[in-house]
Symmetry: C2
Subunit: 426 residues, 2 copies
């Protein structure tokens, strides 16, 4: 079929009529399909049951003799550090193990800088303005942390190889109120983009005016491949050291989408100096995190090979879902020039752009036919997409049959909104 832009008024009217029939047929089914969040599906979680069936006697004693059942060990068991060190390709001295949530580690890292500063800098809360760079579309929960804590967000365009580095370089070198930058460098949320080596090198080589500027490197999807030819991400800690910027980056990760969302383990990687700074306040905040759960994960996965094997099983469940979404998008929207979308090699999302000023209307129409999408705008700071066009598709949770229906309804909604736009202009 031709591009909508080339349809005549009559053709558009016909198209709308046909689409409305399909739309109403779905509406009558009174569906309730939730596509809001990047959650693993039930089958993925089924695979992890065994982690919880490791007998208690195997969970009590850590390799160094620590009784995991008692107090102690502020920043994680050595074997848990080793597991994350291997996964993140850093030294185990560069790892701190947290609780069940990397989001919480990130929140704490920002909140700590607000209250206490970083390595002796002025607490950010004592400054008139604090700003973060926010490559967008991006992860809404990152932006929410900034908003809650009163940090101004500056939107940075995402390109096909990562953030627009010309702008990033210029801004951080000129403005010492810019204290941070959010990055999801691999299979980014929502674009599924992996930063190129060139972009990683340029980030590592930044010369920020603020000495307490930190890159918040949320490597949430480091082992979450959907393809046999996974993307490769250059090691940011190594690149930072090569640039003499050893302290400039905080890396975050977790097993939330490897084992259990909400009952996995989170970790942070950074220079030893950064981690020592963090330990000083971490030791006041808690006596330590859940060592039994740490050991449970180490006993089950053993090493990176164990994790990779497990993630292949995840991919065998998720890949068909991503393929189905792509097929339906192609079939319904292909050639019409009303939407574009990414085909990621990993991660949890497909990012779709509608024509300008259509995303909110598409969200509304989909909702009325029973499909709840991530809120349009959520992928931008303050929930405001300047072009009102980006929608994050989260295909992982719904069963395949539901997913098919949801994406079909979503596509019909895009087509309806777009056809009506063109009709208005015709």
């Amino acid at each position: 079929m031709n591009s909508y832009s080339k349809l005549s008024k009559n053709e558009l009217q016909n198209e709308i009529e046909k689409l409305e029939k399909r739309y109403n047929a779905f509406k009558e089914q009174k569906l309730k399909l939730d596509m809001t969040r990047g959650k693993p599906c039930s089958e993925q979680l089924d695979m992890c049951m065994e982690i919880l069936d490791i007998p208690s006697r195997e969970l009590r004693k850590a390799a160094d003799g620590t009784d995991t059942f008692n107090y102690g060990v502020l920043d994680g068991l050595p074997e848990a550090k080793e597991l994350f060190a291997e996964m993140l390709d850093v030294d185990k001295s560069e790892v701190i193990i947290g609780g069940n949530s990397s989001l919480n580690l990130m929140y704490d890292a920002v909140a700590r800088a607000m209250s206490l500063g970083i390595l002796g800098s002025t607490p950010w809360s004592k400054l008139d303005r604090v700003k973060f760079l926010c490559p967008s579309p991006g992860y809404d929960r990152h932006f929410a942390i900034c908003e809650l804590l009163g940090i101004e967000m500056i939107t940075i365009d995402m390109r096909q190889d990562g953030p627009d580095m010309d702008t990033v370089e210029k801004l951080v070198s000129e403005d010492d109120s810019i204290k941070g930058m959010w990055c999801v460098p691999k299979y980014s949320n929502p674009d599924g983009i992996t930063y190129s080596d060139r972009v990683v090198d340029r980030i590592a080589a930044l010369r920020p005016k603020a000495k307490d500027f930190r890159v918040f490197w949320d490597n949430a999807y480091c082992v979450h491949h959907l393809s046999d030819k996974p993307d490769e991400l250059k090691n940011i800690l190594t690149a930072c050291k090569a640039s003499g910027n050893d302290n400039m980056v905080y890396v975050f990760s977790s097993t939330s989408k490897i084992s259990f969302p909400g009952a996995g383990i989170a970790a942070m990687a950074a220079s030893v100096e950064n981690l020592n700074g963090i330990r000083k306040s971490m030791t006041i905040q808690t006596i330590g995190h859940d060592k039994i759960n740490q050991l449970r994960h180490v006993r089950y996965f053993k090493n990176l090979d164990g994790i990779n094997l497990h993630m292949k099983k995840h991919a065998s469940i998720l890949k068909p879902k991503f393929d189905i979404v792509n097929e339906i998008l192609e079939k319904e929207l292909g050639g019409k020039e009303i939407a574009s979308w990414n085909k990621p090699n990993g991660g949890y999302f497909i990012s779709l752009n509608t024509l300008n000023n259509c995303a909110k209307e598409v969200e509304k129409l989909s909702l009325e036919a029973g499909v709840v999408l991530t809120k349009a705008g959520a992928t931008y700071p303050y929930g405001k997409d300047p072009k009102d066009r980006n929608i994050r598709i989260a295909p992982t949770l719904p069963p395949v049959e539901e997913l098919k229906k949801a994406i079909e309804i979503f596509c019909i909604s895009i087509r309806l909104v777009s056809a009506k736009k063109f009709l208005e202009m015709a």
Copy 2:
């Protein structure tokens, strides 16, 4: 034996000679006995193994159908709230479940008030001064939170029925920079005192000048009895409501010393309005805490009866240790008028006061003979005991034979330091 104050110079010299012989005999054993922290002992933890052996299939589905293996449920499973509601004698709508650490909940509560204020008040970090009342001797980790976050601490004397309320009432009604007060109201750390009904009522009836004043009610030892006639603590939330102070208190508790220190569950109880205020930022900080561990605890303990039964088993292990300490203290120090100590009905500590200006010296002497005590002074703000006399004894962790030796060395140290004091003055 007579009071040391009545011994002649000669008698004191003889006493010191005899004590030094005993002391040196211990010193030659090159012991390493750790009495620093209130940790459960190995046998207590053995009792909890079964909690971890509940099969995974019984941990997956919460009563309301929630898949505990996936994301969601910010503030705890309903059944976990019910368990804590029963334990703390509050409504389940007044409970939020946290992660593995009530200390972390307390830190977060203070840090949140610093960054964001409480229910619309000015963030404490924007004020010139913020002060907390610190009944002392008290819990060093409470004081450490204040010190880290730059909160001034005002020492309040602990009496036999709780904090000196005349001073508390006067100070909070006059000074609006006083924003908080730490309390361990039951089997207090370290005194083992339970606040009287009268004290609880006076706290509940405070008329603080600061509207955002909060009592941080750390009910860590609510079910940790050592006697068949446990102390009773008046319900602070109820008392606050009766005084029209519904929002004035945050209650904290956990299963750290019921199940696993570091792998239990923590909870907070407060008015619905307070909790709604907290949820607003909590939802930015985390997606939710470990629901699997919540369900594990609920499945095992079932209800308060289950917890109480379990705690009786704990008491059967701990009571003999407390008795031994008391016997040795009595035998070594009784009648000498050089030390006084409490005989608590529960909790984890025995608090001992030496003569003035002796505690640090006793700590040093004990250490040289291989007994590590909680740092003298740690039970006071800034680690400074104005009378240098309070020492916290933590008898729970060491095996009985070690405990006997440690307390004997400790007593010899007290006697030596005291005898030398009197000799100096003789």
